[in-house]
């Protein structure tokens, strides 16, 4: 196992800002989750709602996603990020884009 720590990202679409394509609208749509490399060749976790990107990590560490679930207006993403990994084997839980447990 690589010395990454893992995150659960819990995103509420009505609360996400900035790049969220529909912060107050219905969560209906097609959600694709994955990662892309940024200009610094770091892996950035993200999802796309109907093709519009929502970035989940800051691009300073290597991150990826492992899954997504949508229920009602809630979007849940799990994944990992090795940014600032003082506790490399500890899971983290993000709620409203903030780490909530770990």
């Amino acid at each position: 196992m690589k010395p990454y720590y893992f995150l659960l990202l819990v995103l509420f679409t009505q609360c996400t800002k900035g790049t969220d394509p529909s912060p107050s609208a219905s969560a209906s749509g097609v959600y694709v989750v994955g990662y892309t490399f940024n200009a610094s060749r770091k892996m950035v976790a993200e999802y796309w709602k109907d093709g519009k990107a929502v970035t989940l990590t800051n691009g300073q560490g290597n991150a990826t996603t492992t899954g997504i679930a949508v229920s009602g207006s809630d979007v849940y993403v799990c994944g990992s990020d090795d940014f600032n990994s003082a506790f490399p084997y500890w899971a983290k839980y993000w709620k409203r884009r903030k780490r909530a447990i770990g």
Binding site: F6, G29, V32, M43, W48, G51, T66, V70, D74, A91
Partner: protein
């Protein structure tokens, strides 16, 4: 019990389910309460699916030191339901009524000759003939149709009731890891060339920023 990794997530009604690794081994969490996945040997898990209050997990045995012994395995509520003959790997899992399906592959004599397969209630249905390199990464059941999605010779494809439909055109390497169906739209997620890709009915769609290198790993429709 601390969480070390989360490999998959799903909702079922008002329940939130996560599959991952804890300091006590592989578990799934139902609304935060861990349920240990029990086996007699080392193993890996890959995906989960739910049916009513039951939780199904796919994976494979991985005993130390025996690289040729891998058994695709299905667990229900933490206990083994069935285990396929070795060697075999299970990636995805789906449940439809009383039937449980695993998707995966049977390795050949070298890394370039994997056979894509799914198991229905433990009975293998091969999707390719072993002369190519094919893998099925996930599976879903829609009505009476069984869809497995993956790639053959690095061309993304799915198999509908065993009949292959290509997603990539072969001009660049591609694989599909996940699919979802809503109405007449068949969605798939994977990569094409070095880029993340979302296909709808076989046509690659635009992803914002998707010209960067990367991959799409799962698609869901809400």
């Amino acid at each position: 019990m601390d969480c070390l990794a989360i490999k998959a997530i799903a909702t079922s009604g008002t329940d939130l389910l996560m599959l991952g690794l804890s300091t006590s081994g592989w578990v799934y969490w139902k609304n935060g309460t861990p349920v240990t996945i029990i086996d007699t040997t080392s193993f890996q898990v890959n995906a989960l699916a739910t049916s009513a209050s039951d939780v199904y997990v796919s994976g494979y045995s991985e005993p130390a030191g025996l690289l040729t012994v891998r058994n695709a395995t299905c667990w229900k509520n933490g206990s083994i339901v069935f285990r396929a003959p070795s060697p075999s790997y299970a990636m995805g899992v789906a449940v439809s009524g009383s039937d449980v399906y695993l998707a995966g592959y049977i390795p050949g004599n070298d890394a370039q000759h994997n056979t894509a397969v799914y198991w229905k209630n433990g009975v293998a249905v091969t999707l390719t003939d072993g002369t190519t390199n094919a893998m099925a990464y996930s599976i879903l059941v829609s009505g009476s149709d069984v869809y497995a999605v993956g790639a053959e010779n690095k061309v993304a494809c799915y198999w509908k009731n065993g009949v292959k439909v290509n997603l990539g055109d072969g001009s660049a390497v591609s694989e599909a890891f996940s699919m979802a169906i809503k109405g007449s739209a068949i969605h798939a997620a994977g990569y094409l060339g070095s880029h993340p890709c979302w296909w709808v009915n076989g046509t690659a769609q635009s992803l914002e920023g998707g010209t960067a290198d990367g991959a799409a790993l799962q698609v869901v429709v809400n």
